[in-house]
Assembly symmetry: C2
Homo-oligomer: 227 residues x 2
């Protein structure tokens, strides 16, 4: 039994990457299926779209909701790919707000079906836990909350509002986006601007109430104070 100490059988490792790739493939298939057959696709449809039969799907996903969760995560990636830079970028504050909002809107504009599937959609049997959308929203909201909190503290203001405000902002943009996606009654640029306007006013008002005069055209970077 002198089995060179460990070596946990390479046969198990051999597939590590492969499985992930396969999952990704099925996620793509789901998205494609959704695009084709609407948001009410079933596992059979997805399997068919992937050129495979159900049990194969179930080898990679324990569950329907597991698959949908993965789809949701993929969507999150796509979203973050565009929102991350916008969130991180510096620049004139109002432009920055516009860019963040517009990044979000551009994503849902480009993938309306996927979007609807994920947020409205048929998460048929989700047991309340594991709500991808909720997690996404939390992710973004938390990012925002951190940014807001930092600013508030930097100005020595009450930072207790950072979290609720962050969630409020997220909901605001999301809901306005939903509305816009349904009846596209104005251009994306217009909507982005309208939304940025009230967000800016809200931010500006907060700063004013702390005696700070901010210029929407200048990069608001009080965080530099911390350096």
């Amino acid at each position: 039994m002198a089995r060179t100490v460990k070596g946990p059988d390479a046969r198990r490792e051999r597939w590590k990457g492969h499985r992930e790739q396969r999952r990704a493939e099925f996620v793509e298939a789901t998205i494609a299926a959704v695009a084709k057959k609407g948001p009410d696709v079933g596992m059979e449809d997805v399997a068919a779209e992937a050129g495979v039969s159900k049990p194969v799907l179930y080898r990679h996903f324990t569950d329907k909701s597991d698959l949908y969760l993965a789809v949701g995560q993929k969507a999150t990636e796509m979203l973050m790919e565009r929102m991350g830079p916008a969130l991180a970028a510096d620049g004139p504050i109002r432009d920055r707000i516009v860019r963040i909002v517009d990044a979000y809107l551009s994503v849902i504009e480009d993938n309306p079906n996927l979007y609807r599937f994920v947020v409205k959609g048929s998460f048929v049997d989700r047991p309340v836990e594991k709500d991808v959308v909720q997690e996404d929203k939390n992710l973004i909201a938390n990012t925002l909350a951190r940014i807001l909190g930092d600013y508030l503290r930097a100005f020595e203001m009450d930072s207790g509002g950072a979290e609720p405000w962050a969630h409020a902002l997220v909901g605001m943009v999301q809901n306005a986006g939903d509305w816009w996606l349904d009846r596209q009654t104005m251009s994306r640029a217009n909507l982005s601007d309208y939304l940025a306007t009230i967000i800016w006013h809200a931010v500006d008002g907060l700063l004013r109430s702390a005696g700070v005069q901010a210029d929407p055209a200048k990069p608001l970077t009080p965080l530099r104070l911390v350096d």
Copy 2:
């Protein structure tokens, strides 16, 4: 055949009120069942809760989603019962905002299960149409949009933002409410106040940009101009 002209057979009319009452009864049963067994109740459960077997239910509701729709409408009623006055009431503008926001929060606080059932909930097979929640949100948003639009026009400002802003506000409060309902990390009064703060700032900012100086402690009633 001298059948006194018409008289559309009183046997049909005899039940008119009764059916509605019965539906209401089942709606109540559904709410009770949701409270007991969580948001994943099935038709069987609901029927049992009402002390009845499935087919009876199906005599009054064509469909699962029909039942849930009715539940949603009931929820809308409950919501509107409290929000209506708050929306209509006059008074110091900031207080008014607080009251509207707080009215909403109080409803979801009092009926968290029902709320979750209706908005997150298992609208299993809804065919995208007939989304009660969406309709509710639209209802509120439209009310707001009308109010906002009137004010904007009264101040001779661009009223194009009224609709998106209304939807934005609705989403904002809703999402912040969701977040709060999950992890109740602050008092309702506190949250109401934080939310009212940014809403007020947003409103104030808009007015300022039109050269209007508003006092949050005074009732903003430029609409009187129209009298």
